[in-house]
Each structure stands twice: as C-alpha cells, then as structure tokens.
Symmetry: C2
Subunit: 368 residues, 2 copies
C-alpha cells in the first residue's frame, strides 16, 4: 500500500529546498556558529519598543490575528502614501512569492528572472509547473534590465522578477533605468520588483510608488532593516485589482497576531530604523576594509550585506565559505557562473565582524 | 490598461472568504465585543510558562525560525510516540489545508466533505480547481461515515475530509466506527482526519496513532486547548512518504520563531493543559445549563464549544445570533440545512459566560 497519488506537478518536483538553515548546518557539523552573517538578518535586532510591545501582548495570543490586518495595512498606507487597497500583507516575501506564482502561473507558463537571483521565487514558480528563463547578470554584477525585458517580450512571460537592490550581489539600478525597464516590459507581464532591501537603499534606487502601474507589484519586508525576520511579515504594493486577487487564495489568518503588532510598532520607531540603517552603512564600510586588508575587493552594496570578490573562481570561493564555516562563521555565496567568485557576508554586529576579520585571513590561506 | 491575466482557476474563484473576523464585525457595527465566544479560541490563554518563554525570547526575532522546525517536531514525536518523519508543521491547520489541496487536487478532482463542515478546507479545494461533494450530517448531527466513504468510492475522490470531534456540531465517533470508516475508504483516497479538538476529546474518539496508514493524514493544532490561535502552529501526522511531499511545496520559513518556541513550551506544561481541559468541561456544563434555563437543548460536545438547538428554523437561529451580536456577544452558527437551527458558542471564561447568560434570554425574546 502506497500513499495516494499526488498531482502531476508535485510528482515532477525535485526534493531540493531553497535554503539550508544555519540551525541545520550547526546540527550537521557540530560546530557552533559564532558569527551568524549568512542570511541577511539584522543582528541589531528589532527596536526595543517593538520588543516591549510584543512582551506586553504575549498574553493575548489565544486570539487569532486580524485576517484583514487592517491596522498594519493602514499604517503602511499612511507611511508610504499609497491607498489602503493597494497593500497586501503575507507571511514574509517568501509567502507572497508562493501566492504570486499561484495567481499567475499555469503549467508551462514562463517566469523570467536573473541567473543566480533569489531561489525561493524559482522554487515557487517550479512548484506551480512554470518554466524559468534565467538571464545572466551584466559584467558589472547587476541584473540585466534590457535582457530581462527582452526575454519577457520574447517568451510572453507571465512574470519577470527583479530585485532592486539586488540579492545576492548588492548592486542596484537608479530610477531612470528602472523606469525605462518598466516601460519596455509588455503590459500583460507582471513585473515583480523585490525591494526587500529598500530601507538601506539610496533614494535614487526607489522609483516613486505612485502612480500605481497595473502590471507592477513591489514586495517589501520587515525581515531586514526592521529586524523581524523570525516574525514573517512581508507586504506587496500594487494595483488594487491585483491586490484583491490575493484574498482569493491566501491563508487569511496566516500572519500571527504578534507579527502584525510588531510590524505596526516597528513603523512607529523611525529613529531606531535610521540608527540601524546608519549601523548597516558603517558595517558595509567595515566589511570593505576587511576585504581590502586581505587583498580582496568588496562590491558596492545598497543592502545589509556585502559581496566580496575572492579573486579566483567559484571553487576557490566555495572553499573559503567552507573554511569560514569550519571556524564558526556562517555566510552564504552566489552560485551562478561568474557571480560564484564572490562570497556574501551580512552586516553583523561589530563583534561578529571582529570574528570575520579574525577568521577570513585563515580561511583564505587554507582555501588556497 | 488592466492587470496581467490571472490563471483560469483564479479567475473562476468567487470573492468570498472563509470567515469574517470579530475585528471586522466590530469595525462594521461599532459595537464592542464583550464576550468573544465565536471562534473557538481558548479565552483561558496559553500557559503562563509559554507567555514567559515568548517574552524572554522576544529579542531574538531578528533571526529566522528553523525551517525544519526540528525541536518542535522532535517534541511532538516524543509526546505522541510517532516517528519524527511522520510529522509536518505548518501555519495552522488552515495553512496545511492549503498545502494538502495543492498536493492532491488537480482541476476537476473531487474532494468529499460534510455539508456544513469546515469552510477553509472547501476554500482551498476550490482554490485549486477541485470539485466538492458535500454529504449531509446524520439525523443525530454527526458526520455520516458510511455516506462519506461511499461518496469517496463512487466519486473516486482524491481526499475525504472528516473532523472528529466535529466542528461545528461538537459531535464525535468512537474508535471502532472510525476504524470501519478508514477500512471502507479506497486506498488511493486520502482521509484527512481533522483532530483540531483532540485535547478536549474523550480517548475513545481518538484512534491509535500507530500503525501509520499510507492514506491517512491527521491534523492537530496549538490553536485550541493550547491557547495559541494567534501564533499559527498546526501539524499533521501521516505516512513519511506523504509528509515528505510537503517539503516540495511549503513556505519553509513560514512558522515564526516565537510560534515554534511557544509550541515547544506548551507541550512541556501538561498540568496547565489538564487544567484548561477541565475548565472547558466545566464551561460546556455551564453552557448546557444556560441553554436549559432558556428552554433550549445543548448538543453533546467533545470540543471547546457547544452547539445549542434554538428549537426553530435557521432564520430564527440567525436572528438570535444577530441579537447576541447587537449585545456584544460574538458567536457563530452552522449554516447548512437542519444544522442551521443551532447557534455555536465557544467556552469562554466564566465572566464571558455570565454575559451569555445575561444576554441570551433577551436575544431569544427579540428574535421571536
């Protein structure tokens, strides 16, 4: 007797998962992580006011959270200056990616992305039977706007994914380039603009939110600068017609009560956000200096991480990652051709970057 | 310019959502809810130890939760006496329902359920293009095991849903009836046995967990007796071959860090669980007495709510619900034919049931 037959799409899916977690790596290796600088979390943590609000509300979690998430959506709408019906909140951008793929992708439909871009988007596209077309990055490690738009047109893509600022390279495009890109994507292709790192980005990297474009959906998150990765709150901003569709498929009660409350409080503490953004900028400088001390080049970054060019090929950079892991430094690295020469280090707290500064020279030596 | 075309399945979906939340009702009516006894939440709250653990860990939420949820799954496996690979954790049973529908349902595939059973299951089946076959309850307000199994055979159903104890009626079947039901469902139909109310159920209502059956998946939750509805933690127990499939489609980081930790702590505090279960039993007795005081009959219940037969038709019972709502008492009611003669009241705290006792006679008078 075997289990009942799964759908044809599911049967064809591989067993791979988008990310192996630091907890899993620790369990496998038995090596304690001393610097958790691989998942672009914010080691600075959430605002103390957010922590206090969560503590004060911990007794109330017997109640389901508001499935309309009205308070949070209203706070976002007010802060961003966009209409309430243009915002949907979900269980992190990852959760929203799953819903977006479900809303748009039928088997064999095409999604365009960059070769080496965010794997969870790819996971969800494949999960609904879609076909991925992946465009190599430009020679200066940016997503190739012209080629992405051309592929969207050529493939009659249902969706084209762009992260700006980019993960994993940290690069970004400015408004005028983005505007040109948006204008060159067909109207019936959704542009999924992932702005997970918007808070640390320069203003020039963020096109105006208004007017809303019917074929543009922008995703943002409380997981990065707001320090709430573990609470799973992401949101998307788009045309109300598109946003309404999420209500037909989402897990209405899926965002926890404490997550909603934490996000609302986080939005109120602008001073703390500014402080974190400044600390992140300092940390990027520190990582660039650490790279330089080791004869390596740090790539410019508008995010809370820095890609460091290890100066050789992908095999070498992978050995550097492994040597760092053996020393309790958890990082990740790009895997696509050419990008794979780099390692990616998140801006941790100063004491974590001390560990990086101490261990990187040894790792580089051992990797040779 | 319109939004890009959605999938054919999504385009055909209605705009309805499974539940209107108490927050929404409050916003619409402007009437403050004095007794929140409509969503089968546990007003007794989670264990004080769980609250303290969440408060102590609030600072750590900048870290993503463990996507493998190993600590929680190991604690569940130990407590339930089942193998670790037979457990998957998700964002509430609702979240798991979405994944189960996705794993099994292709367009036009059939899911069998009871007419008036849990609407979120129906929502997800429809959400993947499935066709629902709904079987009326028996004359004594139980799900009709024989007719459900017969429909599964006749329709070559991909999944048959059974909640035991039942929501919304509170009724239950014993092990031998359930065993007979399981034996009469085809091997290639998944039995989705929803045991959200297992903690308040008599032992006779819960078939042994072992041996695992390849076509049986049982769902349970921390939302009810454990008092963690707002934290979204549900789990399913099944054949490891079936459980593995969830990893191909789930939102791996979707369960929050605090939710995982709260669930682990909740499992440790058996004394508190026993206390809540006793309070729930008292509350059911109190609700039965309130019903009797008003000349109404409470149905037997193995859950944390009681269905009360209002003695007339569905229109009358709906007026009772509306009259209670106007008095700040939030309840829900079954809507299917014949079941709709009832209202459903969750076991709230004694002071909430005082409000019910005070307002029900007035509501009944006004509803006449």
């Amino acid at each position: 007797m075997t289990v009942p037959p799964l759908t044809r799409i599911v049967q064809a899916l591989p067993d791979t998962v988008p990310f192996v977690a630091p907890e899993t790596l620790e369990r496998r290796s038995g090596i304690r992580i001393r610097a958790r600088v691989g998942a672009n979390e914010s080691s600075f943590g959430p605002s103390p006011k957010v922590i206090r609000a969560m503590q004060d509300a911990a007794h109330s979690v017997w109640q389901y959270g508001d499935p309309e998430m009205l308070e949070l959506r209203a706070a976002l709408a007010a802060q961003l200056g966009v209409p309430l019906p243009s915002i949907v909140v979900g269980e992190g951008i990852d959760g929203l990616h799953g819903l977006i793929a479900r809303l748009l992708i039928e088997p064999e439909d095409v999604a365009v992305t960059s070769l080496g871009a965010y794997p969870t988007f790819n996971y969800h596209v494949a999960g609904f039977g879609g076909r991925l077309v992946a465009i190599p990055y430009t020679a200066d490690d940016r997503e190739d706007l012209g080629a992405l738009a051309a592929a969207a047109r050529r493939e009659r893509a249902k969706v084209v994914y762009l992260s700006n600022p980019d993960n994993p390279m940290g690069s970004w495009w400015d408004r005028s380039n983005l505007q040109q890109f948006l204008d060159s994507v067909p109207e019936d292709t959704l542009v999924l603009l992932d702005e997970a790192y918007s808070e640390t980005a320069p203003a020039e990297a963020l096109p105006p939110l208004l007017p809303l474009r019917p074929n543009l959906l922008r995703t943002r998150t409380f997981s990065k600068a707001y320090g709430l990765a573990g609470m799973r709150v992401g949101y998307a901003i788009g045309d109300p017609g598109m946003i309404r569709a999420f209500d037909k498929v989402r897990n209405h009660f899926g965002v926890t009560r404490l997550s909603q409350l934490a996000a609302v409080e986080a939005l109120k503490d602008d001073d703390y956000l500014r402080k974190v953004v400044a600390q992140v900028a300092d940390g990027r400088g520190r990582l660039a200096a650490i790279a330089a001390d080791n004869g390596l080049a740090a790539l410019p970054s508008a995010t809370n991480f820095v890609a460091i060019d290890c100066g050789r090929d992908g095999t070498f950079a992978m050995r550097v990652l492994e040597q760092l892991a053996a020393r309790g430094v958890f990082i990740r690295k790009p895997m696509a051709p050419r990008l794979d020469r780099c390692i990616r280090i998140s801006v941790g707290r100063p004491e974590e970057l001390d560990v990086v500064a101490e261990e990187l020279p040894k790792a580089l030596r051992e990797a040779l």
